[in-house]
Amino acid sequence: MGIVQFLSDLLPETIPYWALVLLGAGIAFAIIIAFVSVVAIFSVWLERKVAGHIQSRLGPMYVGGWHGWAQSIADGIKLILKEDVILTDADRPLFKLAPCIVLGTALAAFVAVPFAPGVVPADINLGVFFIVAVSSLTTIGVLMAGWGSNNKWSLYGAMREAAQVASYEIPLGLSLMMPVMYFGSFSLSQASEMQAGWGGLHWYIFSDSFWIAIPSFVLFFTAALAETKRAPFDLPESESELVAGFHTEYSGIRFSFFFMEEYAAMYLMSAIGTALWFGGWNFPGLYLLEGTALFTPLAIAVFVVKSMFLVFVMMWVRWTVPRIRIDQVMALGYKYLTPIGLFLVLVASVWEYIKFSMMGV
């Protein structure tokens, strides 16, 4: 059930369909951007706290009182109020457009994320495909930023991003094939629904295919780190080599767009991981509440907490390991992850076929 359906039930029939679609899109956009902003703000704060505690510091402690909870809000306000510097030699249209494209694609991908039964902005039955396709469009924005900045370091960052994302699309796509074969569907919400058994613990990672699910998740997580430019794959913005990579020349609100995109992408990848491997909104005992008003908020909460946990793991990795060199990134992608992915696809297809033909599952 999408937003448009919901609106047509709610509103009188005299309203034309295109208006409903526009209205629905507007509402979905507002909800997503609000949600992504909150997630980004929270993630930035969480990242700083996680980094702080890993590094035997405390992280932000003052702004807002309790453990500096308002730190990233204050930072956000600062970024919005800061002067927006555009270099004279920059390619202005590209320079201005790049942050919008980067953030826009990240937001667009959220359309297919199922937060709870029925709570999905657009229930696309090719959801997995859609998310992977749209989220990799970010590269175009990054390339535009790198070129438009007219800075060699930015260009290097952009080229690295292009090379890296293009390479890691393959293992990422392959790793997603295993759950897709298991569920027999590209739809994320359908996948989540199918993991509702065993009182809510029949997740893909605990299913009879767990021995495929676990390596495929490791593959997915590695590729997702590379896709989201997180350490140890943060080469496009590696600060000790490229200063800040493609966003070296950005400041103020435009910089914050890149910043938000990073956390939005992290959350998005974690959400895919949650929906496909970790049972989506399912949680033991949650089915008891089904039908009550509490169910949907709790299901959303379960989903968000699960994905935030994966985001936390990404942060944990980032503050623990050094950065890989570009040739090692490429070697890892092409020499190891892609063959492993192909092999897993083969094994999984044979296994799912055997299950289907022998047991009829």
Binding site: Q55, Y156, S238, E239, W319, P322, R325, Q328
Partner: protein, 383 residues
């Protein structure tokens, strides 16, 4: 996008050009205002040239214009991470001209301070090297222990970075009450914490991948380029001034000279230089412990040497083992209160010279790893 450099025709009449990139003077990986002009073919470097002088503060000229003791604060500022060592090098050179010596207690105090300073300096070196290869956390762990050291220094001389504590004829003052216990406590803590850096950073698979076989400096090259300190030992040369030409009371102390063995790659790579620093910290800790056992009550300043004096004419060259290599002071006196020539042979300056010959052929990311492994302090290269 301005592209310069040599033009090449690759295939199908496609013309490519190398890109000239300025790494620095403001760059996170150059440890200060060093500027390295890189020429790169994509990610692979084809040329490099260092440009120095952004932090030139005329130390040698100042040395010819101020009193012997007045120059001491300037020594703090060449290698600001190991100011005690700089003080010591200069003081020894002046003492050699004066023909004076420091009392035994002062000598042990000097060794303790110098070795603690070596630990502090190597902690920063290893920590920032982590930053250079992209690991943030070890840096904070290193600074945590360095903070204890800075408190120790602050307690004895009131300064945390530029001490001016070791001076011709001894040290400025005796250690305050309880100071030796604080040092002893640090040596215990450090032994417990050291495995953290080793496990978290040096034995990390990615760290090894990034540093092993990268920036290999052969033994012959290291000697020919005049490399000293961890850079020379990392290349497999068994040479440490503290052992081979001992100054102070190092001849009586028991410690090992750490030499790179190609533990994870080939001898003389970035890993080995880092490996030498890691284990030198342990040895320094050992030396501090021995000194704590041996130190006796006594004078800390030679009464013969005051604050203002004239040196007899002569030349003295004193090279000491600084954390970054041999710090040499060549002082020439014409019998006056002011040096005729005050030459500083800075280890970073010499060690850096070879970098521009190590970079071509490496990848852009290796540039950060190689420059970091040399462990330069720009205050010292430019003086």
């Amino acid at each position: 996008m301005q592209v310069t450099g040599s033009e090449r025709i690759v295939e199908l009449d496609v013309r490519t050009q190398d890109v000239d990139i300025n790494m620095g003077p403001q760059h996170p990986a150059t440890h200060g205002v060093l500027r390295v002009l890189l020429r790169a073919d994509g990610e692979i470097l084809t040329g490099a040239q260092s440009h120095l002088g952004y932090l030139h503060r005329c130390a040698e000229k100042i040395g010819e214009n101020v009193d012997w003791v007045q120059y001491l604060p300037y020594t703090d500022r060449y290698d600001y991470l190991s100011a005690m060592n700089n003080n010591l090098g200069y003081s020894l050179a002046v003492e050699k001209l004066l023909g004076q010596d420091a009392p035994e207690r002062a000598q042990y105090l000097r060794i303790i301070l110098v070795e603690l300073n070596r630990i502090a300096s190597h902690l920063v070196a290893v920590g920032t090297y982590g930053l250079d290869v992209g690991a943030f956390t070890p840096f904070f762990y290193a600074l945590r222990e360095r903070e204890m050291l800075l408190e120790i220094f602050e307690r004895i001389c009131g300064a945390r970075l530029t001490y001016t504590f070791i001076r011709p004829g001894g040290v400025m003052n005796d250690a305050p009450e309880g100071w030796f216990d604080q040092v002893a406590a640090f040596t215990e803590v450090f032994d417990q914490k050291w495995p953290d850096y080793w496990n978290l950073l040096v034995e990390n698979k990615i760290f090894i991948e990034r540093t092993a076989n990268v920036g290999v400096l052969s033994e012959e090259d290291a000697i020919a380029w005049g490399a000293t300190g961890p850079m020379l030992r990392g290349s497999g040369v068994d040479w440490d001034i503290r052992r081979d030409q001992p100054y102070l009371l190092y001849g009586d102390l028991d410690f090992d000279v750490i030499v790179g063995k190609g533990y994870r790659g080939s001898v003389g790579d970035c890993f080995d230089r880092n490996y030498v620093r890691m284990f030198e910290m342990v040895q320094s800790n050992r030396i501090v412990r021995q000194c704590l056992d041996r130190i006796r009550e006594g004078e800390v300043q030679n009464e013969e040497v005051g604050m203002s004096f004239a040196c007899p004419p002569g030349r003295s060259y004193v090279g000491i083992e600084n954390p970054r290599g041999e710090l040499g002071h060549w002082l020439v006196s014409d019998g006056g209160k002011i040096a005729q020539r005050c030459r500083v042979r800075a280890p970073s300056f010499v060690n850096l010279a070879v970098v521009e010959h190590m970079l071509p052929g490496c990848m852009l990311a290796d540039a950060a790893a190689i420059i970091g492994s040399v462990d330069i302090v720009i205050g010292e290269t430019d003086r």
